[in-house]
Amino acid sequence: MLVDTLFSRVANSKVVLLRFWGLLLVVFVLAVSSSAVAFWMTATPFLEKEREGVITSQATRDVHSLEAKLERFRVLLEFVSHAPPIVDAVMGYVDSTDAIQEFVGRLKLPSEVSWVRIYDAFGEELVEFNFDTEAQNPLVGAPLVDLVQNTNEEVEGFERHVVFARDDAGAHIAMASPVLFQGFTEGVVVVGMRIDADALFPANEIAKDTYIAKSSAISAGITNVPEDAIVVPLSATDLSVVLLPDTEVIEAAGSELLTRTVGALSLVLIIAFALFAALGRAVLVEPHRRLEQQKKSLAELAAVAKRANDAFLVTDSAGRIVWTNPAFEKLSGYSGKEAQGQKPGALLQGSDTNADTVEEIRTAIRHRRPIKTEILNYNKDGGTYWVSLGISPLRNEQGEFYGFMAISHDVTHERAQREAILSAKREIEHQALHDSLTALPNRRALDIALQSRSQDPRADATVVRIDLDHFKYVNDTLGHAAGDFVLCEVANILREETKSEDLPARVGGDEFVILLGAGKTSEDGRVVAERMLERIQQPKQFEKKTIRVGASFGVASTLDGLVPIGQLIVGADAALYEAKDNGRNTVCLYTPQLHHTVQGRRSLALEIRRAIVNEEFVPFYQPQFDAKTHEIVGVETLVRWRSPELGLMAPNAFLPIAEQLSAVDEIDALIFRKATREISELRQQGIIIPKLSFNVTAQRVQNPDMFLDLPKSSETGYQIAFEVLESVLVEEQSDLFNFSIDRLRDMGISIEIDDFGSGHASIVGLMHLRPDVMKIDQQLVLPLTKSETIRGLLKQIVGMADLMGLKVTAEGVETMEHARILTKLGCDTLQGFAFAKPQSVEDLRVFAKDWQPEQSALLRSSTG
């Protein structure tokens, strides 16, 4: 079955692939096996020759090393045999062998030398040296005698004569050298040595065993050598080196070489065949496979397209329909036959179809670009429907264009839903950015506009800040409907007086901002503002009532180079306040002067923050005196700022800013802490201040934290008094305030009304607060000496206080004249420059120490 498939003429790509791999495998196996055979046939003789060569060269090397060794012995032997003591001895000139003993003893003989014997011309041994006491000497006997005799008799070839024996200890070789006198042999020196064959011929892969044998014995058949042994004679002696090759190892090496070569060959062939396989597959099999794949894909695609819910439409290169699927027929109402040959645009589009979209599609088709869009189509019955349409150019394998395919599906319903969501979103967005009352953009819209303007670093901006004057009055008097009417009127004015590039916005209750179009200057802003002011000021009729409102304008522009866009509103605010300070209903620009003030204020604010941390605020004390005795009865604590940079500053220089920073409480707390500590210290130094009074705000009185720091009078030893402004009696009469005042009083702190007579305090309020002391404002005290009326008024006030059980303190006592009158009027306590200025604690210490009430009283009486 498989065979049939493989060899059938019609074959699918799988079979082709199978054939391809099969053939490849067969050729590969043939190639490898024939290479191996070829290598085997050519390499075997070479390997054998090589093997012989290796063995022979090993043997030759061994021979050379033995020869070298023997040559060294021969040289040594010659040296010894020429030595005068030995010549003298063999010649009989010297009877004793002492000189020989000494000579041989001095020689540095190689370790292999086991003995030395010296014979005379008659073979008689003269002396014998044995160095190797361990090993037996197997050389003694007839061979040695023969050696000596042959040497003595100069038998031909005697120089080659050696005596050789082998035992467990190694190879023993004896060599002889004649002792010559005048060129004639007169004795013999024989050196015996033991050569460690294992060391000289170390075992290796080539030789199983290597040993020394006598050449003559081998040739005579006395010494048997194995058939495969290599025998190499030594040139200078009757010795041979016998090498028994390790045939197994050598053969193993040969077969390993074969294996490796065939392996390497296979590897090379594998690479070559792999390359061939890859190329073959790509060139032969792959196109076949692809063609088949394409066919299959196309068939599948057609099936898919037929069943698909999407409408498919294929045109030729000229754009005429050649094929449609059933979904298309259903959607358009045209049958496939009706559609064929038509142009899709003409068939499906009508008068309401968006012309831009049609143009967009035409352009894409012209450029054979794919396009995805939504378009309104007409069906056969003339009904419309929206489709999501994707058009793709079709290209064949070679990339040649041959038509378009359009896939579409009905999105009419989706589109309707989407439109509804979008309009809802737009509504929400509009609401988010617009004021619902006036329909003007709101603060958020303004912020976004400013934000986007500030993205471009080169962009400029000019804003006009508008605040209605007395709007609260409208609201309060005429009701919110009137207020809303006014706001809408103003919004209309803003809309009418601005250009389309301007952005008028309502940013708060009666606050508006106009962001002018790019390039407009602050001067443009002023012009617009003045125009608006004129219109806003005009009376308006609401429910038959006339309403008048005014407005203050602040204009700031980045083009003036003072502030960046981010700070523009702040600048406009500053200008607006300036306008309000200037009497309202006016327009102010954010000028360099104004900018300077703002900056100064800002840096002062930073300084104040720092000064609080560094505790640079210090208490100053203005003493108060008993009106009759002129003794010091207390001090009023006043704050001063002792700034390292700015010097000593009075409160009016920093308190307004501190109020803006809400830092007054912190300053007060600091002053309180310092003053109580300093007055206590004075007390310890024996300077008694009976009362210490502080100015407190209504807020501070109501701050629960304040109570944490308060000491008790019993602990301090002096009275603490809080001075509350007279205005408090008018403005603050909350429960918390009253509760706090009661609590202070419970703690033994006396309450004094400050600046009494400067405002319009009510008697009721005064009674309600029940203060301990009333301080008369210096505005009432100063004119005292000149105005009889004032004196009368004061007399009444003192009388009223007396009636209410309050003590009276007079401030601003400038002269002793004042003091005298005030005392006479019945004031209890006097405070002013006539007695002492506000001073530091150091000055106070000196002042209090030196103060002599009697003299002062005397002075008063004398001047009085």
């Binding site: 010649m91 006198f181 005048q182």
Partner: protein, 407 residues
């Protein structure tokens, strides 16, 4: 040593046990124990002298044929020792005639004297050889230069004949020479003199040694020098002295003669240094027309009628004279009744005895020996010396390199 002793003892016993039977029938043998290899010229010259003298008596003595046997010891003392052992064992060897070198005889002197080896020396000059061993009979006779006396001759000739005032010694550093130094120094001392420089040198010196030797000699202001050297070192020293332009007269022992001395030292150098070489007086005799010499030379070869034609002529002259003395002694001893019944050992003793007491003067080339020797007795140190100081002469080299009497 023990082995040697045993060997000698065994040989001795054998010698004693073997009866000297048939000795008379087979004649006697003279051994020539010399170095026929290295010093072949000297040995052969001696042999020629001996043979010539024996020819004169028909190679027969006391009615018995005489045979000369070469015993070549090649200067090997041990081999020479073997010769003595052979001699002792032999029942025919009557006497041993020595060669040029002294060691083979010096080393075995005790053996010779204790075993009755009749030893006759025609060349070796070492003084002690003929002076015997304590407690033993002396068996060594000499007819040659005796170094015990040559020192005196050098000094006498240099100072008295040639008027040398400052004498230096150039001495090869060997035992032989050191022994001679004593007699030289003693001879100078007799005249109240000392050597101005005594220069010892090793064998095979280099040029540098020779130059510094010459420099020292020049500084010593020596006008004469006695030199005891071999030819190689002697030649180098003489050439160096000549190159250094030393005005000095050289008196040399005969050690420099031989081989290629004259090839290495030019005639100019030899003359400039007034080189004289110690000899016995054969050349003078030849010049004087000594008839015995002429006869002897004629017997050797009618064509070769001059000593210069012989190599190492000294050996010939001394060998001839010594053999004549030996022949005379045998002839004197043989008529005795004892001779006929005597074994070889006894004959040796008889000949020794006769040598001490030769009654008839023996005419020789160098001298008429009357008598040649005297009984060796205490005080008679020169008893076995056939020649005395009066028999010594100086020779010089001719321009051709031949020795000639220095007159």
């Amino acid at each position: 040593m023990f082995a040697k002793f045993v060997t000698f003892a065994v040989i001795g016993v054998f010698a004693w046990m073997v009866p000297p039977a048939k000795a008379a029938e087979e004649g006697v043998e003279f051994y020539i124990a010399a170095d026929f290899l290295i010093s072949a010229a000297a040995a052969q010259s001696i042999e020629l002298g001996v043979q010539t003298a024996l020819d004169e008596v028909g190679n027969a003595l006391a009615g018995e044929p005489v045979r000369l046997i070469r015993m070549d010891h090649r200067s090997n003392v041990k081999r020479a020792g073997r010769t003595y052992q052979t001699y002792v064992k032999s029942d025919r060897a009557l006497a041993i005639i020595g060669g040029k070198q002294s060691p083979p005889y010096l080393a075995h002197k005790e053996y010779i004297n204790s075993n009755g080896v009749l030893k006759l020396l025609p060349w070796s000059a070492a003084g002690p050889v003929t002076r015997g061993n304590d407690g033993l009979e002396n068996w060594v006779f000499r007819l040659s230069v005796d170094d015990a006396q040559s020192g005196k001759f050098f000094v006498e000739q240099a100072i008295e004949k040639d008027g040398c005032a400052r004498v230096a010694f150039f001495l090869l550093n060997t035992g032989w020479v050191r022994a001679n130094q004593k007699s030289l120094t003693a001879a100078l001392a007799e005249r109240g003199m000392k050597s101005t420089a005594t220069e010892f040198f090793s064998s095979s010196i280099g040029e540098a040694t020779a130059v510094s030797l010459a420099a020292r000699t020049k500084r010593s202001q020596a006008d004469c020098a006695v030199m005891l050297s071999n030819w190689v070192d002697g030649a180098l020293i003489l050439n160096t002295l000549h190159r250094a332009d030393l005005d000095i007269r050289i008196y040399s022992h005969w050690g420099i003669i031989g081989r290629a001395f004259t090839e290495h030292v030019s005639d100019e150098s030899r003359r400039a240094l007034h080189l004289k070489v110690l000899q016995t007086c054969a050349l003078r005799q030849e010049r004087a027309g000594n008839p015995i010499l002429e006869q002897a030379l004629h017997r050797v070869s009618p064509e070769k009628a001059a000593l210069k034609d012989l190599r190492a002529a000294t050996g010939f002259v001394h060998g001839y004279d010594l053999t004549r003395v030996l022949v005379a002694a045998i002839e004197q001893a043989a008529p005795d009744d004892d001779w006929k019944s005597a074994d070889i050992t006894q004959k040796r003793a008889l000949v020794r005895n006769a040598l001490e007491r030769i009654e008839q003067p023996v005419a020789g080339i160098l001298n008429t020996y009357d008598p040649p020797f005297h009984p060796f007795e205490p005080g008679a140190v020169n008893a076995y010396e056939a020649l005395g100081q009066q028999d010594l002469c100086f020779a010089q080299f001719s321009s051709e390199g031949q020795l000639e009497d220095a007159g």
